[in-house]
Symmetry: none
Subunit: 416 residues, 2 copies
């Protein structure tokens, strides 16, 4: 049974921008994994009339509705009341919820407002909340399934996994499976990628293809619904092969793997150690690489040399190179690479020097000009790239491009 | 004029839970600061019909509509088309947008899909996007104001401040004035801060006090509505003085200033140069410091030494210190500081060594233990802090705490 879901977050603090709506992300991700399509998320304040209007509108479109927040004991919490109004059901005191609440309060004084937490629209099923005082509520309203969950994320996630999912399974809402694979790419823009695989995107039916871009990266997600996992895998494999044949050099990792993680895995596999010489990236490459747990097994360290003096004295870049080619040159990058590999005694290295902007650009070397060197002391490559964006974007793109190039070198060019 | 706003985020990646909807938070927070009420946020996928339906429904309720996302160059980006359908307006190629796009692509190949980014519903005003390729769009539809903004947060925030706010002012939507001042704090948790100024928060009427927390930082925003700026300023000044008397040591900057920016400004004012020795932060401090344009005038560079060998050989940390106190010790941090200041010849420095986790913790030095040294070669301080969170959080909190401590040292402790 394929059904559509909507998520309604309730809370004035969300409308004031005081907190991030992480519940909507959690619920959406869980539903995607369970094969349930979420067509809409919305957020309304703690206002009974607006909650009721939102629920009515959503019920006209969706089969499954999850509301989160507004179940607390204070006056402004009125999700129960709003839902009861929308469904035209009376709110009744639920004996099970009352008993649970009294048990949780054992000894401590309970206010009239606390008791409101034990009310629910007539015909509801109460969902226990071991992590807080507000119980959840489940309503089957003529086949439409409605869940009211508490707002605090640790209460909501626990109740979702332990109460909501079992109910959805018992109703046959969750069945079969969804398979997906994400290809992470760098060194290619979203629009160039889209143009390169336009025919595949146009022809997509099953698997589907979705592109997501981040600064300096593009993700391609291939998704298929299938009853049988072997069949699903072979369909995804075949589409992936076609994409790889066109843009394979840009694919650096799959699914949850990051660029730094993919690079780290390969370095470890090949028994390499790494050091980095940074100028315009200012330490970002080292920061990204050390974001991976266990990176100390291959990352020895880095030298960030912002000034020419430091490049000369600490990385042994020659005076002649700085004068003849300048600090932003492939020649300088190559000497920085040799210098840092020697300093740390690492087997491979990365060196980056460029113009991050907003100042420092010239006609010949405008902002965004970045020279990279990567490889080992005995065998390295250099390249000049032109990156767009402001200072932060140039830094991030440069760091990612340098890491992608070293990854490719390790896969393809490294002397055997 | 008091008006109500709605925010519509567009993007299937939001409905799949792949990204957090930080744009809704940013826009809601900005509107709250400008005195504009947001009654609803919603999220729909990259689907023309559903975007159109959402826009129609929102226009029936609100005076001001902001859509974000879905302006990219790929097939599935169809916010323009959805809005045009809802307003029953044709999409036309805008010559200004086309010229801007061609300028940005100067030299690089432009696809047919890129050109879609230069189309807009007939009668639109094009909003320039210096941070990306997708221009924004403003439509005055019979008095209802509709803005289409790009999805990437750094493009959206820039366009909001530089294009949307001026238009709202020119239309009288933002009037009188709202004065606000944000105090940025570090080294103190949101709940500790809230408890320390609880009486001020409880008594707030005008100015209002709002707390926003980020990783390792808390912002306190003081806002007052007033006709006369001198009066507003004096009210905010007086509340700020009271807050400063309680938690002044934690306040590192105001309004748009970042921690790295505040530190850079002070270093420049005092004629200092800086170098950093990093271990567990892996280059993050250097990265943050070089995020500021012009940082090359005071930042000489950094040495990231992940291994003990590198600490010994490159930073001259003594064998005895490493054996007796270990790499995570104030003694080691102090020697790292002396080493890096000597290497780069800087007048002041920062050194950080700690356990970022998830592995490497011991009973005496659990994950989150971080030792800092800061100051000059002749006068420095050391401290051990215990930071919570996962690897990324420990790194970020450590970097910020080190920078805050050096800032405080420069303000108060530096020998004259």
């Amino acid at each position: 049974m394929s059904i559509s879901a909507e998520i309604i977050a309730v809370g004035t603090e969300l409308l004031l921008g005081q907190i991030l709506n992480s519940n909507a992300q959690f619920l959406s991700r869980e539903f995607a994994g369970l094969g349930i399509d979420v067509y809409r998320q919305s957020t309304v304040g703690d206002n009974r009339g607006r909650i009721a209007a939102e629920v009515k509108a959503a019920m006209a479109r969706a089969d499954l509705l999850v509301l989160c927040g507004g179940l607390g004991p204070t006056e402004d919490d009125c999700t129960r009341e709003g839902v009861a109004e929308a469904l035209e059901l009376p709110l009744v005191l639920d004996p099970v919820a009352r008993a649970q609440l009294e048990e949780q309060f054992a000894g401590r004084p309970m206010t009239a407002n606390n008791l409101r937490q034990a009310t629910a629209p007539s015909g509801s099923v109460i969902l226990p909340n071991p992590r807080g005082t507000a119980p959840g509520i489940f309503i089957d309203h003529g086949g439409k399934l409605i869940f009211l969950l508490p707002g605090p994320p640790r209460e909501l996630t626990h109740m979702f996994t332990n109460e909501v999912v079992p109910i959805l399974r018992s109703r046959g809402v969750i069945e079969g499976s969804i398979f997906s694979r994400t290809l992470h790419m760098a060194g290619i823009g979203e629009s160039t990628l889209a143009a390169t695989i336009a025919d595949l995107i146009d022809a997509q039916t099953d698997p589907t293809i979705a592109l997501y871009s981040r600064l300096g990266e593009v993700d391609v997600r291939l998704t298929t619904k299938a009853a049988e996992s072997q069949y699903a895998k072979s369909r995804i494999d075949s589409l992936e092969r076609e994409i790889m044949s066109r843009v394979g050099e840009h694919v650096f990792a799959y699914d949850d793997m990051t660029l730094a993680g993919a690079l780290g895995t390969l370095l470890r596999e090949k028994g390499h150690t790494l050091s980095v010489a940074e100028s315009c990236t200012g330490g970002l490459i080292g920061h990204m690489i050390t974001g991976e747990p266990g990176s100390s097994s291959y990352f020895l360290g880095g030298l960030t040399c912002y000034s020419n003096d430091a490049k000369r004295e600490l990385l042994s870049v020659s005076d002649r190179t700085l004068k003849e080619f300048g600090a932003v040159s492939e020649e300088c990058a190559a000497e920085m690479l040799a210098g840092v590999v020697c300093c740390f005694g690492s087997s491979v290295g990365i060196a980056v020097t460029g113009v991050a902007g907003p100042d420092g650009g010239t006609e010949r070397k405008p902002v965004g000009t970045v020279c990279l060197a990567y490889g080992s002391a005995s065998s390295h490559r250099t390249v000049t790239v032109h990156l767009r964006g402001e200072r932060a974007a140039v830094k991030e793109r440069a760091a990612k491009e340098a890491m992608r190039r070293l990854l490719l070198w390790l896969k393809e060019d490294e002397p055997r």
